[in-house]
Amino acid sequence: MSERDVMEYDLVVVGAGPAGLSTAIRYKQLNPEATVCVLEKASEIGAHILSGAVMEPGYLDTLLPEWREHKPAICVAAQKDRFAWLTQTRAYRLPTPPQQKNHGNYIISLGSLCKWMAEKAEELEIDVFPGFAGATALFNDADEVIGVRCGDMGVNKAGEHGPAYAPGVDIHAKFTVLSEGCRGSISKQLIRKYQLDTGKSPQTYGLGFKELWQLPAGRTRPGTIQHTIGWPLDSKTYGGSFLYELDDDRVYIGFVTGLDYADPNFSPFEAFQQFKNHPINKKLLDGGEILSAGARTIVEGGLQSLPTMDMPGALLAGDSAGTINVTKIKGIHMAIGTGMLAAEHLSEAATTSGFDARWRASKLNAELHKVRNIRPGFNKGLWRGLLTAVIETVTLGKLPRTLQNHADHNSLTKLAEHSDPDYQWVERQLPPRDRLASVYFASNAHEEDQPVHLKVADTDLCISKCTVEYGNPCTRFCPAGVYEIVEDADGARRLQINSSNCVHCKACDIKDPYEQINWVTPEGGSGPNYQNL
């Protein structure tokens, strides 16, 4: 058997998103002699990144001002903002909320930006390792984090070592930074171990879908940014759409639904597809073709759900903690700003301790404080939510109250107490037909012969309890059709997990009503191969 290698670094960063790359780059800018590495589970930097994305450029201008001369493959200056409330057939223009004004911002592909940032990191002699997933944190006897273990390669489905078996490397580092994005798997382990969420409001999430379309010539107005609320959701469900018009007759179209929805029969994928068939969109998309597509969860809890961001030996940065400004749906600048602050803290203090306090004394905290009550305001429905939003915006968040969040896993109504709402959904005509057709546009690839990376603790419970209580909602909330209830020849029903379809969105880890699905990293390099998302 081959032995497990150990590599030593001053700083190991898990996840090459904006938070992780900014941490690594800033640290190396401040400490040119230090050794720094960045792990990324995608086969290529940016291939697992899915974001809107309208970016506020401020922090990036500070970190890497030259980005403006090396714009990502997709980069269009924001021009016009539109905001509308939809019914099934109509769109009513609303005044654009101040948080959603985008003058000076850019519509980008975050995946492409990260690819470029990774090149910059390599120029600074940071070791960037795409295709290597951080599997678990490593601890010393004093229970401090001392690094991470990368996932093993070449293990077969039964858990045995195949001919190409290669044990994952142990990376030991003075500091470990977790920047895995929304619902990070190691971050989850550490938040639990160090009880970083004690005294915080429960975290809450949304599930976002996005497609890149190539349209017939002449339909787009590059730089136009449109957000909608209302149909195809009912007023009890939080969520909305985005439509960003790009150059070369391309558009980004997407939809985010709050994962605190109550209807056990609801399908977030179907909601997105319905939205595309609204008359305003259908006209735009008809005759075009999908270039790429995917799904990813997004943190929505804001300041009151933000865990303590430091622990012995390690830090959380970006959406691993949940620094996104959900009212603006903007997390990129916050991730970059937080990454830079983390690097500055580690260089100056030479310890992880004190980072949480430093962050909370920073501008980043102030930005989230101002908007902290807007998302939980929608817990009582769309109309109460809009009212709260107006009040909190006018008072700049200065009212002496903080509304609380509720957890997503226990927000479903039981079937016995549930009646299907009428969403007024239509028969749809635009592609993709179903979730499998949609996964095709994610260019997904998992080695088939590897252990299932979606660990369901008790699959009997799915049949004995979940079918009765909730009708197996995993078969509906998963954007990629990973979960199926199948019937064997003898008529027995069982859960089948099509793990190779998984697009790493993490919705199952969040929404399962029994909290028994644990998303762990599959073999490094597996998963979607997003292009320009």
Binding site: D5, I74, G111, D127, D248, A445, N529
Partner: protein, 248 residues
């Protein structure tokens, strides 16, 4: 014995290939690029021969733009000893590639040259054969097993009728088929070592090449999309429909 393994940078096999808007090529902007999978098998086979003590040195050779250094670094991280990039941005047909490889062979004098049976971008399946002819040495294509016995190589080939084992005198050209081996995973410490290995860059123009006519592809178009089918109720109706469409 020295071995040369040839490596081509291609669009990754997981990518959905799209035709560009001008219709004169495919989209490569923001697209994931990788080592041609058959070439990965070639590198792996070279490494195994080295590990068996049959070969003393494995050299990875690529022809392409400077970006192809990425794929050569991967070959070095897998375990190749050094690499050569023949820098060439002009379009190249297999004959041109074979002439360039011949120049490298003349200089390095390898005992074995291993190439993928084809590259998954244009699927031409010609370079190995042309190289053997220009070099005036034997070729064993579509190899699914390879054994070196002194001055000879015994190669099992996948052919239409099944398997065929042939013996060729070395030096020779071997092209790899899918079942030859399963390439290893690249290990992180080896990626670090690969950064320090020699990678020579030679300009194609400096190789004194004969002039080779090029083939220009002027237009790409996607295969026609399949029209939705219709459901028929009976065999009679099926026959009717086929008749009215002039199919029978």
């Amino acid at each position: 014995m020295k071995i040369i393994a040839c490596v081509k940078r291609v669009i990754d096999y997981n990518v959905r290939v799209q035709i560009n808007r001008d219709g004169d090529g495919v989209v490569t902007d923001g697209v994931k690029m990788s080592m041609n999978p058959f070439d990965e098998i070639a590198v792996e086979e070279g490494l195994r021969l080295k590990e068996k003590g049959v070969a003393t040195e494995l050299i990875a050779v690529s022809i392409g733009g400077s970006e192809s250094q990425q794929q050569l670094r991967t070959a070095l991280a897998m375990g190749a000893d050094r690499a050569i990039l023949v820098e060439n941005d002009a379009p190249l047909i297999p004959l041109g590639a074979a002439h360039i490889l011949l120049r490298i062979i003349e200089k390095e004098q390898p005992g074995l040259v291993i190439l993928g049976k084809q590259a998954i971008d244009d699927d031409r399946n010609q370079t190995g054969q042309m190289l053997a002819a220009l070099w005036g040495r034997p070729q064993a294509t579509f190899a699914s097993a390879l054994e070196i016995n002194g001055e000879k190589a015994s190669v099992t080939r996948e052919i239409d009728a099944g398997m065929e084992t042939i013996e060729v005198d070395l030096p020779a050209v071997v092209t790899t088929d899918l079942r030859l081996n399963e390439p290893r995973f690249v290990k992180m410490p080896d990626i670090m070592k690969a950064k320090r290995k020699t990678l020579d860059v030679i300009a194609a123009a400096s190789l004194d090449l004969p002039s080779i006519p090029n083939v220009v592809t002027s237009n790409f178009s996607p295969p026609p999309t399949r029209e939705a089918g219709i459901k028929v109720e009976s065999v009679e109706q099926l026959v009717d429909v086929m008749k009215t469409r002039g199919l029978i």
